[in-house]
C-alpha cells in the first residue's frame, strides 16, 4: 500500500497505513500533518494569487491599444495553456517513464501521472474554452484549425484516452504499466503531431513572452500581471495535483479493502441482531 518513493519527494502526502485490531481491515491511510500543512499553504497561496491576478487583470491594468478589453484574457489564457500543455503533460510523461524504469518503479509515480493527467484535462478544457472566447471577437470564429489549437485538441483526446484506459478495472500494477506505456507512446507522438500540424496550418500569434530573442513584447503592469497569472495558475495546478493524489491513494485503499469493510459491517450488524433473534444472523435470509 505505501510506497518507498514518496518520502524522498517531500511535498506529496505520504500515506500512513496500519491494521485495525481484531477486524483485519487496513485503516485508511492518514495524511501526515506536514503534508496537510503543505497542501493548505499551497491552496491558500493559489487562491490569493488567483484573486490578485483577477483584480490586477480586470481593474488595475490598462486596456490594449488594438484589442481593448479583450487583451485581459492574456492574463489567463497563456497561463492555463502553459499548465495544460507543458506542465501537466510533461509531468505525466516523466512520471510514466519513471514508473517504467525498473529502478524507480513505484505506484507513487503511477498515481502522480494519473493525477497530473486528470488535472491536465481540466486545464486543457479551460485552454480551449478561454481560447474560443478570445478567438470569436478577434478572429471572428469560435474555432480555427490552427496548428496550436489542433495540437491542444489532439492532446485532450490523448488525455481522455489515458483516463478511459485507467477506468478499466485491473490490478493496480497492471493498470499502472498499461497506462504508463500509453502515456509514453502519446508523449513520443507529441513532437510528430506538433510538426505535422505546424506544416499543415498556422494562424495563432507567436509566443509573447518566450519568443526567440527572449525580449518580452509586453510591458509594465501588464507584464507583472501576466507573470503573476502564470505563478497563480501553476500553484492552482500543484494544489489540485496534491488533492487528486491523496484521493488516488484513498481510492486504491478502498478498492483493496471494500470487501473486508463490508464484511466487518455485516458481521457487526449480525452481532447486534443475534441478541434479539438468533435465527436471523448476518441478514442471510
Amino acid at each position: 500500500m505505501t510506497d518507498d518513493q514518496s518520502s524522498s519527494t517531500g511535498t506529496i502526502p505520504h500515506p500512513q497505513t496500519s491494521v485495525a485490531p481484531n477486524t483485519g481491515v487496513t485503516l485508511a491511510p492518514v495524511q501526515s500533518s506536514r503534508a496537510r500543512m503543505t497542501e493548505y499553504i499551497i491552496g491558500i497561496l493559489a487562491l490569493v494569487g488567483t484573486v490578485a491576478t483577477v483584480w490586477l487583470g480586470l481593474w488595475v491594468t490598462p486596456p490594449d491599444k488594438v484589442q481593448g478589453d479583450l487583451v485581459r484574457l492574456v492574463y489567463i489564457h497563456p497561463g492555463v495553456a502553459w499548465v495544460a500543455l507543458y506542465l501537466a503533460f510533461g509531468l505525466a510523461a516523466v512520471s510514466s517513464l519513471l514508473y517504467l524504469w525498473p529502478r524507480t518503479r513505484s505506484l507513487f509515480w503511477d498515481r502522480l501521472a494519473a493525477a497530473s493527467v486528470e488535472v491536465g484535462v481540466v486545464f486543457n478544457v479551460c485552454t480551449l474554452v478561454s481560447g474560443s472566447i478570445w478567438g470569436k471577437p478577434t478572429w471572428g470564429v469560435w474555432w480555427v484549425w490552427d496548428a496550436r489549437l489542433t495540437l491542444t485538441a489532439v492532446l485532450l483526446i490523448m488525455f481522455l484516452g489515458y483516463m478511459a484506459l485507467r477506468r478499466v478495472p485491473a490490478e493496480p500494477e497492471v493498470r499502472a504499466r498499461r497506462s504508463a506505456f500509453v502515456a509514453l507512446f502519446a508523449a513520443v507522438d507529441v513532437p510528430l503531431v506538433h510538426f505535422s500540424v505546424n506544416w499543415w496550418n498556422t494562424l495563432h500569434q507567436g509566443a509573447t513572452v518566450l519568443n526567440a530573442n527572449l525580449s518580452p513584447q509586453i510591458h509594465g503592469s501588464m507584464a507583472w500581471t501576466l507573470l503573476l497569472g502564470f505563478v497563480a495558475l501553476t500553484l492552482v495546478f500543484v494544489w489540485m495535483l496534491l488533492v487528486r493524489f491523496r484521493i488516488g491513494v484513498l481510492e486504491d485503499w478502498l478498492a483493496d479493502n471494500e470487501l473486508d469493510l463490508a464484511l466487518a459491517e455485516r458481521q457487526s450488524e449480525g452481532a447486534g441482531l443475534s441478541d434479539k433473534s438468533p435465527t436471523n444472523q448476518g441478514g442471510a435470509a
Partner: protein, 223 residues
C-alpha cells in the same frame, strides 16, 4: 529475430488466407466507406476528386482499426498468445511479424481503395511514385503503431471500443502526411511539397518500430 518475424507473419497471413476475414469483411467495409463519403459529399465529382486524398486515408485508418482487432483476436482464442510466448519466439520478432502481416493486408486494401477513389471519385494521379511512397511509409507506420496498441489492449474486455480511441489520435500525423503527399502527387499539385511529409513519415515509422522492437516483450507481459 528476423526468422521469427517471417514465421509469425507467415502464420498470420496463412490464417487470413484460409479464413478470409479481411477479404470478406474489412475490404467491403472500406469500399462501403468510400460510398458513404460519396453520399455525404454529394454527387459533385469535383468536390470528391479534391477530397479524395483525405477520404482515402480516413478509409485506410478505419480499416486499420479492424485489421488490428482481427490480428489481436487471432491470438486471444484458444490460448494462442500463451502458446506463442511459450514457443520461445523472440518478442521483437513476434512484433515485426505481426506488424508485417497487418501491413501486407493493408497494402492489398490500399490498392483496392486507391482504385476506388480513382474510378469513383475521378481522382487523377500525376506523380505515381509519391502515391506509392506515401502508401508504403504510411502503412508501415499504421501497422507499427497498431500492433503496439493491439498488444497493449489485448487483455481488455473493452478492447473494441478503447482501441480506436487510443490509436486514432496517435496516427494523426500519418493521416496528415498521407493526405498532403497525395495532394502533392495529384494532378494540379506541387510534387516538391511531398518531400518533407515523406521525411516525417520516415521518422514516425522509425520511432514506433524502434519502440515496438524494444518494448514488445514487457508490453506482452502486461496484457
Amino acid at each position: 529475430m528476423w526468422r521469427d518475424a517471417v514465421l509469425v507473419a507467415g502464420k498470420d497471413l496463412r490464417i487470413e488466407f484460409r479464413s478470409r476475414v479481411a477479404l470478406s469483411q474489412v475490404t467491403p467495409f472500406g469500399i462501403m466507406a468510400l460510398a458513404l463519403f460519396a453520399f455525404a459529399l454529394g454527387p459533385d465529382r469535383v468536390i470528391m476528386a479534391k477530397g479524395a486524398p483525405g477520404l482515402f486515408w480516413v478509409a485506410v485508418l478505419f480499416c486499420t482499426v479492424l485489421a488490428i482487432q482481427r490480428s489481436v483476436s487471432v491470438e486471444s482464442a484458444n490460448g494462442a498468445r500463451d502458446g506463442l510466448r511459450l514457443s520461445g519466439i523472440d518478442p521483437a520478432g513476434l512484433y515485426l511479424g505481426k506488424s508485417a502481416a497487418v501491413a501486407v493486408q493493408l497494402v492489398v486494401l490500399e490498392v483496392l481503395l486507391a482504385a476506388g477513389v480513382i474510378l469513383l471519385y475521378g481522382a487523377r494521379i500525376a506523380v505515381p511514385w509519391l502515391i506509392v511512397a506515401s502508401c508504403a511509409l504510411g502503412t508501415i507506420g499504421l501497422a507499427a503503431t497498431g500492433t503496439l496498441y493491439g498488444a497493449l489492449s489485448s487483455g481488455l474486455r473493452v478492447r473494441e471500443t478503447l482501441l480506436p480511441f487510443l490509436l486514432l489520435p496517435i496516427v494523426a500525423p500519418v493521416l496528415l502526411a498521407g493526405t498532403r503527399i497525395w495532394q502533392a502527387g495529384m494532378a494540379g499539385g506541387t510534387p516538391s511539397d511531398g518531400t518533407q511529409w515523406l521525411r516525417l513519415l520516415v521518422v514516425f515509422d522509425a520511432v514506433y518500430l524502434a519502440i515496438g522492437v524494444v518494448l514488445f516483450g514487457p508490453i506482452q507481459e502486461t496484457a
